[in-house]
């Protein structure tokens, strides 16, 4: 099932790359300060807001943004829609990078990070009531799974490279890996199902501290559905951005189909979200909760708008798809930020707003993630190859959109 993928090639140290690396360097310096002086020196977290931006964004939102691989795998391997296969490799790469960033941020966030090795190893100490334990073990395991799923790309890259030793190793490993892949893919579907839902369950333990518009036994289900939506959203964004940025052909027809897949899921989220409020007699809160009403309605608007966009437009252009996907991603992100931070009000008189330091660290880590993405797609066969870069650059975006690109197999000359 090898679709034609190829390294994008080109210079690595471009100007944007230097900016990204600069931001990453700044974050590294701040991190050093955090490890010397403690969390209080860099962050705005407090005893009432023990989880801040790093948990809400880097871990909870970041890993949901990294669900592209998971969401696509459901389509391709479970629902057998092989036509989406051209999108999978870059989605897995984004997922692997996103989860790695999440994992790294956890280490940074943990007060007693030097004890973290005990979590996967001292199994006799495991507290099976702890939802966080399940999340932690699942995420660790899934990080491995993602990099293994991505390994063929690196091995193919190694095969193409000059070094004969590396080449032989790659040839030897690729075959068995291909055979084992279904087991790994199945694990790659099971683990996110478990921990993405459990990420929602985490806040059930915060009980009354979470505003009743967000506190519900449905948290796990809502987190699961919304992470799949966000996964599709990110696939659209990533495909649109990399085709533009690297001058590759667009995958608009495929992305359109994704839009049609995600719309009913968004609808399901809304039905469950509102139905749950109705059953618990909390619908009135939507209008009587002041600031939280605004927050809730903003979330609803972000979930509803892409559905309307994808249903009213028969053949959305890439730009429209991009905007719709952006809204899905924002919707899921807002839902997560609300549940973990904004609607989390442990006691009166305490507020949290991320400090400059912790924000710069998050920004720097994201910059590092993007830099790693650019490096990998330039060096390894991740993205679809079609030697039409010159054409693409000459023609405007709209023209490319109208090019008759077949919707199933890529029209590459491999």
């Amino acid at each position: 099932m090898s679709h034609a993928t190829a390294p994008v090639g080109g210079r690595i140290l471009t100007k944007p790359m230097l900016v990204l690396l600069g931001l990453f360097g700044l974050a590294a310096a701040l991190l050093l300060w955090r490890f010397i002086q403690g969390l209080g020196a860099v962050t705005a977290m407090s005893d009432r807001y023990p989880w801040g931006l790093w948990i809400a964004y880097d871990v909870v939102t970041g890993t949901a943004l990294a669900c592209g691989g998971y969401a696509l795998a459901i389509l391709i391997y479970i629902l057998n829609k092989g036509r989406f296969h051209p999108l999978i490799r870059s989605a897995i790469l984004t997922s692997a990078l996103g989860y790695t960033l999440g994992g790294f941020s956890v280490i940074v966030d943990l007060g007693r990070f030097w004890n973290v090795w005990k979590v996967p190893t001292l199994f006799w100490k495991w507290n099976f009531s702890s939802i966080l334990l399940e999340v932690a073990l699942c995420i660790m395991a899934y990080m491995f799974v993602l990099w293994i799923e991505l390994a063929p790309a690196f091995l193919e890259g190694a095969k193409a490279a000059g070094n004969p030793k590396l080449r032989r190793l790659a040839e030897k490993t690729l075959g068995p890996l291909e055979k084992a892949m279904p087991f790994i893919v199945a694990l790659g579907l099971l683990l996110p199902t478990m921990h993405q839902s459990s990420l929602g369950s985490l806040m059930m333990l915060a009980g009354q501290k979470v505003h009743p518009l967000w506190q519900t036994p449905l948290l796990p289900l809502l987190f699961l559905i919304s992470c799949i939506c966000m996964g599709y959203g990110v696939v659209v964004l990533e495909s649109a951005l990399s085709s533009t940025y690297f001058g590759l052909p667009r995958e608009t027809p495929l992305l359109r189909r994704l839009g049609r897949v995600v719309a009913p899921l968004l609808g399901l989220y809304l039905v469950l979200r509102l139905g749950d409020l109705a059953i618990h007699g909390k619908l009135g809160l939507i209008f009587t909760s002041g600031f939280f009403s605004v927050l809730f309605l903003a979330e609803m608007a972000l979930f509803v708008t892409p559905i309307v966009m994808f249903y009213t437009e028969a053949k959305p252009k890439l730009g429209q798809l991009f905007r719709g996907a952006m809204m899905i991603v924002l919707a899921g992100a807002l839902y997560r930020f609300s549940t973990f931070l904004v609607a989390f009000r442990p006691s009166k008189g305490w507020v949290y707003f991320p400090s400059v330091g912790e924000t710069l660290i998050t920004v720097g880590l994201i910059a590092g993630e993007i830099a790693a993405y650019i490096f990998v797609v330039k060096k390894f066969p991740i993205l679809q190859s079609r030697p039409r870069r010159a054409t693409v650059r000459r023609l405007g975006a709209d023209v490319i959109d109208r090019l008759p690109i077949p919707s199933t197999a890529p029209a590459s000359g491999d």
Partner: protein, 295 residues
């Protein structure tokens, strides 16, 4: 690659069953009971004069330093990395006044214990909620989960710990009682076995019903705590920072949901098997040339 699907699934099922056998908590949750030898505190806000001798005694007994800000010493207003016990003052809209003592409530079914990954926080001897820094990774989930906002974190340290009242368990081991109860000049806070404390609280309510809000906070609240409270009539517990929690413990609902989904680890194993089977079938289909279905 000689591993067949069946043998892998079998292995996984065995592993799953093995894991499932470990936790006794695998069953759906019932309301937990206090251990028979449970000890605790009874704080009677109507007796407290706000002298804060208990705060000083607590600091000394626990090796904590007094808080300093701008070169001045002051009493912390809330529990923190160097305050396991805090007395605060409340004045209501009608001028009604009360002191309030805050420390770990030593819940019967503590949220902090439920969420702690490696059991750094545990329900120990006599029902005391204890902390073991060796098993703590500093994730601070206990702080998120505690309905009383009790556990504190050492934000200013490179090697921080969770700080919270452990009912002076070192002193208990030496035959002493918790420092706060020992020094209180008015016996506003007393230490004892939970049963005796509850009896004493109800005796006070019965003898002077007009003096108190007619309820012992902690008897049932949040699944029950081992620290009990009495407050002056007209000053609701919530005003003093004790939330209205209902009679179920915070962990009871999420644990029931989580344990139902993951009972015996069966669902994940079955799901894995099903996913694997579907992937195999699809793969064979596409290999046979019958490409995908329609979107």
């Amino acid at each position: 690659m000689s591993l067949s699907r069946r043998s892998l699934l079998k292995g996984l099922a065995t592993a799953g069953a093995g894991i499932a056998g470990l936790p006794a908590a695998g069953q759906a949750k019932e309301l937990k009971r206090r251990p028979d030898d449970a000890v605790g505190l009874l704080y009677d806000a109507t007796k407290c004069i706000g002298c804060k001798a208990c705060m000083t005694a607590c600091r000394e007994a626990n090796g904590l330093t007094a808080a300093e800000r701008d070169g001045k010493w002051y009493d912390p207003q809330s529990l923190s990395g160097n305050a396991k016990n805090v007395i605060s003052f409340y004045r209501g809209p009608k001028g009604e006044e009360s002191f309030m003592k805050m420390q770990c409530m030593h819940c019967v079914d503590p949220a902090c214990v439920s969420v702690c990954m490696l059991g750094a926080l545990k329900k120990g001897d006599k029902g005391i909620v204890t902390y073991d820094a060796d098993a703590c990774v500093g994730c601070r989930y206990c702080q998120v989960a505690c309905p009383f906002n009790v556990p504190a974190f050492e934000w200013g340290k490179a090697t921080p710990k969770i700080v919270k009242c452990e009912l002076c368990r070192d002193r208990l081991a030496q035959g002493k009682i918790p420092a706060c109860a020992e020094v209180c000049p008015r016996h506003a806070v007393i230490f004892g076995s939970y049963t005796e404390l509850l009896e004493e609280a109800h005796r006070r309510l019965a003898t002077e019903p007009k003096r108190y809000v007619p309820k012992v906070y902690g008897e049932k609240d949040g699944g029950g705590t081992q620290v009990l409270y009495l407050t002056a009539a007209g000053i609701p517990f919530e005003k003093l920072g004790l939330p209205a929690l209902g009679e179920k413990s915070v962990p009871s609902l999420p644990e029931t949901i989580q344990h139902t989904i993951y009972k015996g680890f069966l669902a994940p194993v079955v799901l894995y098997g099903a996913l694997g089977a579907v992937i195999f079938r699809n793969r064979r289909k596409s290999a046979a040339g019958g490409e995908e279905g329609d979107a």
